[in-house]
């Protein structure tokens, strides 16, 4: 039925707030409840902060696909940083690659229910999504 998307550049700390607010707005417009809106905003915050801290910035694409009976929100955060050397380890709860962001990726997986990571030096893309019945 309706598709919408928002593309956000992530360059400064303020962009973390901007990106999660954009995600919350899209989720609300697509009919996601308050709990899911908060989960989505929190997940975006984690992913975008990772891009900023580890790669010096990146791009956050948030898209919504609504169908007759369901809505899916998808968040893709990509950067051109050094990449994640050991993805399995990065997803472990409590793992920290730097400034004490230990829970980041496992938190996203817990909040959203899914998480996929593609990473090599120069290109990292983290994707998560959530589908709800309408």
């Amino acid at each position: 039925m309706g598709d919408r998307q928002v593309l956000r550049a992530v360059k400064v700390q303020q962009d973390i707030i901007g990106a999660r607010q954009a995600g919350r707005d899209l989720a609300r417009a697509a009919g996601f409840g308050m709990v899911d809106q908060t989960r989505i905003a929190t997940a975006i915050s984690e992913l975008v902060r990772n891009a900023l801290v580890y790669a010096g910035g990146g791009v956050c694409l948030i898209s919504v696909e609504t169908e007759e009976r369901s809505a899916t929100i998808r968040v893709v955060v990509s950067d051109q940083g050094p990449g994640i050397p050991d993805i399995d380890k990065a997803i472990e709860p409590g793992h920290s690659g730097g400034r004490g962001l230990g829970l980041g990726l496992s938190a996203v997986r817990n909040l959203m229910g899914c998480l996929s990571i593609e990473s090599r030096p120069g290109r990292t893309e983290v994707t998560t999504s959530m589908t709800r019945r309408r």
Binding site: I16, T38, R39, L103, G104, A107
Partner: protein, 132 residues
Amino acid sequence: MKVPILRLGRILLTSVLADLVDEQAVQLQSEILALIRDDRADGVVIDISGLDVVDSYIARLLNETASMVRIIGGEAVLTGMQPLVALTLVEMGRETLDMQTALDLEAGVAVLNNLIAAKGQPPTIAAPHVDT
């Protein structure tokens, strides 16, 4: 914008009214620590009712602040967490947030006063029994 820190006797009160960028959060942390270090306060109540997202970074910063305040001899209490924020923190994983909490600012002040009072009292040791 700087987050104001109010003083109520020997207690500090701070209320985070809107989303903080990381830098502001770190600044708030160091201001609280400086005030307690300089012996101008015994503890702090941090109210986060204005935050509708607490991610792992902010959670960690809050934990750290509480630990650091305790290490330098003060106490810290967190208040006003929105139920939706509490829910996401629980879902994010165990031990995401580990500090004294209270429902609202008023309850937080009461909890903080109790913590400070409890610390001020000498350890309760039974008086030695002297046989005459």
